[in-house]
């Protein structure tokens, strides 16, 4: 196989693999939301004051998924 063809093929493989990272970040986000809900149902009176913490946790988990998405975009369009 030509080197350029292999590189072009690898680009798409890499982008596809990076999409797995986005999926795993989704698992993390779901995990945070599930645990928050489990805790909030046990003590609903304390849940309202913790929504800010929930969103901060969601944002941090989501950021890594976005990084994976960015890697995919870079591979597809910049490399």
């Amino acid at each position: 196989m030509e080197l350029e063809a292999a590189a072009a093929l690898g680009k798409f493989f890499g982008a596809g693999l990076a999409a797995i990272g986005s999926g795993i970040a989704a698992v993390g986000v779901g995990n945070i939301a599930a645990n928050f809900l489990a805790g909030a149902l046990r003590n609903p009176s304390a849940a309202g004051s913790q929504t800010a913490t929930l969103f901060i946790g969601l944002a941090f988990a989501e950021a890594l998924g976005i990084f994976a998405f960015l890697v995919a975009l870079l591979l597809m369009f910049a490399v």
Partner: protein, 258 residues
């Protein structure tokens, strides 16, 4: 990103074409002073903010009108967020954080109008906001606490042997903050708009083949659902951007208060 490197796909148009920055007048090169669709929509966002707040606070009635209650809700929302997350001494920085919040929110929401342009989908716009927050907060911490600000990286609770390792991790995570802060916002907005465009590219399939009888209604449904999700994401990402600014501000005001 979506420049000349169009791959040969089957889509009717490229999902990233919508993020191209074009000059509004003529077709010349884009200089720093060129009026483009990006600057136009940023200006529109600022104008809408000014219109809402100036018009809303014009009468200052005891029983607020619609515009006034809109402004009051936004004001109270950000004020309470700073009070809760940063603490009461962070309220001094309210104008700055309110400006960030309302600009990001309006850019996100106005970008959802079909045919418009979302300024926050560009990494350069959010990087200016994110790095601006980073530099402002680092300077603020250094001015307020001097070298004591560096105590943020030196955990006094941890065992002595672990402290240098933790310090390295803390320093790295401190310097990654502006990157993740800005990429989170632009990545979310860009990904959402690109997904809508991908489904939109499948929609005209009904004109081409009989297979479209199945695909076209599904993709139109998907566009509707994802658009609703994007309205949610636009608001949540503005909220997240602001609340992270508040968290970073708290670190600068109370560096050892972990």
């Amino acid at each position: 990103m979506a420049g000349e490197a169009h791959s040969e796909g089957g889509l009717a148009f490229h999902p990233l074409d919508q993020f191209q920055i074009k000059p509004l007048f003529g077709t010349g090169p884009v200089e720093w002073y060129t009026v483009t669709n990006l600057t136009l929509w940023m200006a529109i966002a600022v104008m809408v903010v000014i219109a809402v707040f100036v018009y809303g606070s014009r009468s200052r009635a005891l029983v607020p009108s619609r515009m006034q209650s809109l402004g009051e809700v936004g004001y109270n929302f950000v004020y309470n967020m700073i009070d809760e997350v940063t603490g009461h001494d962070g309220v001094k920085y309210f104008p700055w954080i309110m400006t960030l919040f309302i600009f990001v929110l309006l850019s996100n929401v106005l970008g959802l109008i079909p045919g418009s342009f979302a300024p926050t989908s560009h990494i350069m716009v959010t990087a200016v906001l994110g790095f601006g927050v980073f530099f402002a907060i680092t300077l603020l911490g250094l001015v307020k606490h001097g070298l004591g600000f560096l105590g943020m990286f030196w955990m006094k609770d941890a065992p002595l042997a672990l402290r240098p390792v933790i310090a390295i991790i803390e320093i790295v995570s401190y310097f990654v903050r502006p990157v993740s802060h800005s990429i989170r916002l632009s990545g979310n907005i860009m990904a959402g708009h690109a997904v809508i465009k991908v489904f939109a590219a499948f929609a005209p399939l009904i004109f081409i083949s009989g297979f479209g009888l199945l695909v076209t209604p599904l993709s139109i449904l998907a566009i509707t659902a994802i658009y609703a999700l994007e309205v949610l994401v636009a608001v949540i990402q503005a909220y997240v951007f602001t609340i992270l600014t508040c968290v970073y501000l708290k670190d600068a005001l109370h560096p050892s208060g972990h």
